[in-house]
Symmetry: D2
Subunit: 314 residues, 4 copies
């Protein structure tokens, strides 16, 4: 350190040609575990929470003036403090954070709050379900991204990495034949993907939705359509899932999918004198197909502000 | 397999209420290594290439009709085939792919092509730089996302995960004091981040830019401003970087940053009878600050189509 | 390439002072998916298989003479070819590979075969369990490492990353108090770990074991003891698990644990005027406790050859 | 929580058939950054430190009696406290930790201390090397594992993930031809690997070694031999590296390699009417070759206690 400590007084770094655009800041990936006790029986909730604020923060950038800066550390403190009274669903907790920050600080006009939930299942011993011991569930993540723009509220929720595979009931034929095609038609192949599906709730209804019930229902629709549709293309399967979601869930305006095609190649065993009638497959990592699609409710246009920082599409 | 193989004939899955919105598909993460030989001296280029097509693909979804479907496997073949004649810069290779696909298939009206480049450095032995042996460079990735919408071309390029740290020359004081603040002022702290910075080229100039030169220049500006600015907030440091980029690079319309604050906490050694004048730090993983900002050229509005599927902001 | 292609004739790189010690080589992480059809009802098995050979391979190293070298590519081919007739359990498939390689090549005197199994669960729709559609199970991995030394066979099997948490029923008190202690006693804390537990089968019985049944039983013992023991230390919990495994499974000679202590810290909410009676926790990533122990059957010494390249301990 | 808090009194969980074997415990992955100031010029050291103790800890397991338990939290405190006086090299810091723990607690008879070092390079601006600003170096990690068994000291040091590639100067011919071979001879191929190389220092000299100098020298030998040897097999390349290390470094008794063969396949462009004379390659992820070998100094047997928990071999 130098003999004279540099000043911490704000000053302007001015520019004739550059100006500040969209910006947000906060604390990301606060890993919060909440324990609820009902007598001796416990419930645990495992949330990873990110908070980012938007509003009048220009002088933090241009002047190094932190007068409006709610420290990311303070945002972290707020997350844990608000959790003290219970966390409910990811959606409700994120909405509560959005209400808190926009009502507490006059210059905070919006923001983004993401909650990822990982599942725990109760351990069952010979004595039955245990009161306070749990084993982690599957690897899929339930995620919500809540955004505020003044009084407007946008809630996108979904499932990330729900991995599925069907060992039959999938074909891929009739695609473009030209110089660059070397792939043969397949009338019976393995189809496997990691479903990432996010849906946008109707803003007019989103505070009244039973989010746990919708999550369970959409997940069930995804698994059922994946299993039961004889698929002619992964795109068709996603469309079939989406149609049912839009038809059965009036509170959902749009659903987006981003799904890799996890290729399983039939191994050529003929050099070893063996046939391979779809028995032995090599599961490849990269490259992979990547299918992305949005399906919307007719007459309801997609709302960019709901999706801008909720990347359903890479 | 059942006795009767299911039909692969297209048919409609119709819906009164759902309709297809934005969609794209292709092959992701084709890991391509190109060797150029100039006599016995080799140059290698290490690209991970993703291709996704947009256009008239509705019937793939709604009917399982693949007549318009250029298989993701064929897209992969195209990438490797076009690389045969040389790959140049990430930007030029991605633009070439975009030209190829939109001109080859009448119904392909646009798409997205991403190229990640990893660096290799020539091994230097006692005999000097070796002709054809290389060691991997740093962990940072150079990335470009090229998008086409008809004849319009959008090129966003940047650096991902350029990790920097300064052990002095950073303060954070004067932020909001309220019930949720527990953090003390810091007049001298470690500041560290993984810079992800992406810039959007002026579409009118992008085909004429020397992309290697711009990349090197922006990278140098980022490192220099990080080092030399006495920082009052990470936001201010990003602003200072951006101002110089916009001022020195007329071909750039906008630059976006997404930067974690990699916290380094001074360890309290007083229980062990020791002072700790910024000598011993604990480097934390999570949670972390997350600072995101866009800086634009005055008079040039941000172009959403350049950024929609190039998530500078999480 | 130079005008004259370099020779590929073997030659010796001799040394007065260096000599070759232990060595093995092969193909790692062959991701194999096997489909078994029983009428229209499918079973799938998802194995990641690594094969490494040991024996008389010195001249590959010292002379670049590949006459004894069974190419790693050929080992891969063998894995897929042998899978054609069914893969059974990880243990049985790995033992079959060991029998094949040691009996086929005279100079192959041993080796190492590892199989990781990931689980898939049958999708249940409104129509019941589906014939050929699956969803990935939990993130835990079932692993076996089979080693051969001539006719001797060593089989170590286990579970990797079985993540558990108990929200009560765990204490940690009475540990060393000295200058370096700052942690308070805890009479009621969250205890959470990712259980990695590996066991060594009695070589005399290992070919006759029902490996699926043992895996299920040991997993159940681990979950039950974790849940039911009021724990005074993670070490005690591991010991309790091990005692039951050794007592109930005569075919197991030794079991080893490597278990992180996934710290969950009670958040201090007093700055915000709140009590926190074990309700809100911060789940930390690093650093973490790491508890490792081997428990053996009395009178049966640990067999180093079973464990040398099966790192239960980091 | 029940009305009556369970006792925390130690008690024995006894077994007729099970007994405790090898065990160790501690705190893993303490991420420590040390700043040394020489006037205004700073040096930073980035260590990730793991500490595990061995000794008389049986009653922690069998009785839940923590009287001998130096809490993993206290081990963490010790690491940060000892760093206050400077951290020197990974080897010297780990040895200092081993001296501290074995001399401070009578029942601690040994242990394991691992230090991973990540590199930072000084940022160079137009004004020259900056006093206190740094950018992360390559992705390789320098690692040491120090173990104590009473007064005996075992130090294994090495490099992890030093990724190299040569685009010519590598052949693979003359390997076993049989039913399972489908790979053709290659007289000129890309060879690429992530070198993990660990060496065991002569215990009699290890406290007097200039560890930074040895690290730099071995790294240079690895890169030089990789580049300059016309390779007939990856095994031969490793042998050539090892011979030079053993010959030039009397203080090293043994060196072990674990090296994947990062396959780069020549893409078949003939379907597109193109030749591909080693220009366009597809870089595969999995499966990969895996070559592991130990090379020892003649007359000096390998020391198992140095390697038991330093897994050079998977």
């Amino acid at each position: 350190m130098s003999a004279t400590t540099p000043s911490t007084e704000p000053y302007e770094i001015a520019s004739e040609v550059a100006e500040l655009g969209f910006n947000q800041y906060g604390k990301a990936e606060n890993h919060l575990v909440h324990v609820r006790r009902d007598g001796g029986v416990h419930e645990i909730t495992d949330f990873t929470v990110s908070s980012q604020l938007r509003g009048d923060f220009a002088r933090v950038h241009t002047h190094g003036d932190n007068a409006h800066c709610v420290a990311t550390d303070s945002q972290k403190n707020t997350i844990f403090s608000l959790a003290r009274d219970g966390v409910s669903t990811p959606e409700e907790f994120a909405i509560r954070l959005s209400d808190h920050f926009t009502s507490t600080y006059a210059w905070v006009t919006g923001g983004r709050w993401q909650v990822d939930q990982r599942s725990w299942e109760r351990i069952v011993t010979d004595d039955g379900p245990h009161d306070h011991s749990f084993v982690r569930g599957g690897k899929e993540v339930r995620r919500t991204v809540v955004q505020r723009d003044g009084d407007e509220l946008f809630v996108v929720s979904g499932v990330v990495d729900l991995t599925v595979l069907k060992s039959s009931g999938s074909a891929f034929v009739g695609f473009v034949t030209d110089k660059y095609r070397t792939l043969a038609d397949a009338t019976d192949r393995i189809m496997s993907t990691d479903v990432t599906a996010w849906w946008h709730y109707d803003p007019a209804r989103v505070r009244d939705v039973d989010h746990d019930a919708v999550y369970a229902s959409v997940r069930r629709i995804i698994l059922t359509e994946f299993a039961e549709l004889h698929s002619l293309a992964l795109q068709q399967t996603l469309w079939a899932m989406a149609v049912r979601v839009i038809e059965e869930h009036e509170e959902i305006n749009e659903i987006r999918f981003s799904c890799p095609n996890n290729h399983h190649f039939v191994v050529d065993l003929s050099p070893f004198g063996q046939e391979n009638p779809n028995v032995v497959f090599y599961a490849a990592d990269r490259p992979y197909g990547l299918i992305e699609a949005s399906i919307v409710r007719k007459g309801v246009p997609s709302e960019p502000r709901a999706w801008d920082s909720a990347p359903a599409f890479i």
